[in-house]
């Protein structure tokens, strides 16, 4: 069983008469426990691909399987379950909820999965990303690198099998960027987590098990 399997994956944006093919026929297999970096110039379709894998968007055509489940066949509730239980998502600009503290941000997915009794996982994860001393701070009191570590902890709190990160280091300097990738590498090793991240930075991409390069919505 592959963690992620895509065949002929296509996403076309329609705006009135105009059609933009953000992805056209992407074939891709990611095995469980793999750490894959997706590279490509701006506009190549990296975000589009990750959104599709993360069940945040729907393909126009093609096959997409996550953990052997056909995503295109999933409807409302099942898609929500997929996002909640099996996939974690990290955004380029962290996207923490500004009114909630670090700890509350990390615990939020537990609220949505009705699993707040597993709160000790929040503490564990905050220790893992080395932010236990900032638990009660608000996001705006943290640096970019720290906020991204909170976002990673949040993405992992429901123990997903797959972690997707769209340019997680895009807003950080190279030192902080390296730290984030090192952290992800650790998670990948320790938990056997499948990770797919996108990046412009070839240095960082080189530290993945495998690189997939996109250009004009195709794998090259």
């Amino acid at each position: 069983m592959s963690a992620i399997l895509a065949q002929g994956l296509t996403r076309i944006y329609r705006r009135s008469a105009e059609e933009i093919a953000a992805l056209s026929g992407v074939d891709l297999t990611v095995e469980p426990g793999e750490f894959v970096a997706i590279t490509g110039v701006s506009g190549a379709g990296k975000t589009t691909l990750l959104n599709l894998i993360g069940c945040l968007d729907r393909p126009t055509s093609g096959l997409l399987k996550l953990l052997d489940r056909d995503v295109r066949a999933l409807r409302g509730k099942d898609l929500e379950t997929m996002r909640r239980q099996h996939v974690g998502f990290v955004f380029q600009d962290y996207c923490l909820i500004p009114t909630l503290t670090v700890e509350e941000n990390v615990a939020l997915p537990l609220l949505f999965s009705r699993a707040l009794h597993q709160r000790d996982r929040v503490k564990d994860l905050l220790a893992r990303v080395d932010l236990q001393h900032r638990s009660n701070h608000l996001p705006r009191e943290l640096s970019g690198g720290e906020q991204q570590r909170v976002a990673i902890a949040r993405a992992l709190v429901n123990n997903p099998e797959i972690l997707l990160a769209d340019e997680p280091t895009g807003n950080l300097d190279s030192k902080r960027g390296n730290e984030i990738v090192a952290l992800l590498r650790d998670m990948n090793h320790i938990k056997g987590l499948t990770i797919v991240l996108s990046t412009h930075n070839l240095n960082l991409a080189n530290r993945a098990d495998r690189q997939i390069k996109l250009a004009d919505g195709r794998v090259v």
């Binding site: 975000t47 959104n51 993360g54 945040l56 968007d57 409302g76 509730k77 929500e80 996002r83 909640r84 239980q85 974690g88 998502f89 955004f91 996207c95 909820i97 500004p98 009114t99 909630l100 509350e104 939020l108 997915p109 609220l111 949505f112 999965s113 009705r114 707040l116 949040r154 993405a155 429901n158």
Partner: protein, 389 residues
């Protein structure tokens, strides 16, 4: 409990826009305050009215013919019933088997101290039997055969600063009376009345052997219809039963309550629309946060619940605040109403009891749910990545 977690998320959101939250909550508070006060005015007014009619003491008042509305208002407000009947009618009524007690009345008004007219009522001993709550604050009942004594209602005594034994000039003929007694406050028009013995009143107005009314208490109130019919046979006399007075005034009150209700509903509707509007703006502003929540696992239902929890919190806080303000302000509101309304019975006009208060807060909770439906639905329909571009 998940709901409390939702509310704690919401409270933080409300604290983020303090001014906006405060204004929205104030809007709800205002409408609940208006709602509760207006409904409280309805009940309070009704209770005061029934109380003051009950305190007339008679089951039936027999007067000479005239407009019953006029008679009812005159009774309540005090005034002169301009027509007289013979004492013979009193003797006839006394013979009726259903009658327990009667008291003859002679009402008129005379200038006092040359500064406007005051209501004078000629009464006899049985008057006090009819009104057992009417007690003396000071002094006592008229002396045997006295012709120069008055008993003052509570307010009259207070207004003229009269005490027992003081002179009390009445009418224009230079005759001076002495204050014999002062009644306790009764909360009825009796407080504003000057009482003299029946015979003295008849003489003052030069209407010997005439009466303006006969108060009748029946042995059994359920016989009131039969009694009324028999009295109706007597020419030139009409019967005002207290039930009639009540019905007439309560009918009027019913119409007023309809308008009051309309105003209250409009106030509530405006508040609901206000909260809804604020919340729609908030949803629009939070497109990105809502999308992120969806991306990290929130279901449509979760998003809907979060938005509804917010409107619910706003309205519940507003409802409690508004209810509290209404309770604290009910005395002031009563006085304001009294100043505006042409006829206001004594007593607290705006009465807010526990049930009304809880009802008002429950209404606010309902408003919260109502105001949350459309914004919550909108939010739950937002695409998880709509904010990206």
């Amino acid at each position: 409990m998940v709901i409390f977690q939702f509310i704690s998320v919401v409270l933080k959101e409300l604290r983020r826009h303090r001014t906006r939250s405060a204004l929205t909550i104030s809007g709800v508070a205002l409408s609940v305050c208006v709602l509760v006060s207006l409904l409280g005015l309805g009940t309070g007014y009704r209770t005061s009215l029934i109380h003051s009619i009950d305190r007339l003491g008679y089951h039936v008042l027999v007067t000479s013919k005239g407009c019953p509305y006029e008679a009812a208002t005159l009774l309540m407000q005090g005034g002169v019933i301009p027509m007289y009947m013979d004492e013979a009618i009193h003797r006839e009524i006394l013979r009726d088997a259903d009658v327990a007690t009667t008291t003859r009345l002679f009402l008129g008004s005379l200038p006092v101290h040359r500064e406007g007219f005051s209501l004078i009522t000629g009464i006899e001993d049985s008057f006090l039997e009819m009104k057992p709550w009417l007690t003396f604050q000071r002094g006592e009942w008229f002396g045997e055969g006295a012709t120069d004594e008055v008993i003052l209602g509570y307010s009259v005594a207070a207004y003229y600063r009269k005490n027992i034994g003081d002179d009390f000039p009445l009418g224009g003929m230079g005759q001076t009376f002495r204050v014999r007694g002062i009644f306790d406050r009764s909360g009825t028009q009796d407080d504003g009345t000057i009482f003299v013995p029946l015979g003295v009143a008849q003489r003052l107005f030069d209407k010997k052997e005439k009466l303006t009314g006969i108060g009748v208490k029946l042995k059994n109130l359920s016989r009131i219809d039969g009694f009324s019919e028999r009295v109706f046979e007597i020419p030139s006399v009409q019967v005002i039963t207290m039930a009639q007075v009540q019905r007439t005034l309560l009918d009027l009150l019913g119409t007023a309550r309809f308008f009051i209700g309309t105003v209250a509903i409009v106030a509530v509707a405006i508040a609901v629309l206000g909260v809804m509007n604020t919340m729609l703006i908030a949803v629009f502003e939070r497109t990105r946060e809502i999308g992120v929540m969806r991306a990290i696992g929130a279901s449509r239902g979760d998003v809907f619940a979060l938005i509804c929890a917010e409107t619910l919190t706003i309205c519940t806080i507003g409802g409690i605040a508004g209810g509290g303000i209404a309770v604290l302000g009910s005395r002031m509101a009563s006085e304001a109403v009294r100043a505006i309304l042409p006829f206001a019975p004594p007593g607290v006009l705006v009465q807010i009891d526990g049930i009304l208060l809880i009802g008002g807060i429950a209404m606010a909770v309902g408003m919260g749910i109502l105001a949350g439906i459309i914004p919550g639905w909108r939010a739950s329909r937002l695409h998880p990545i709509a904010w990206m571009r």
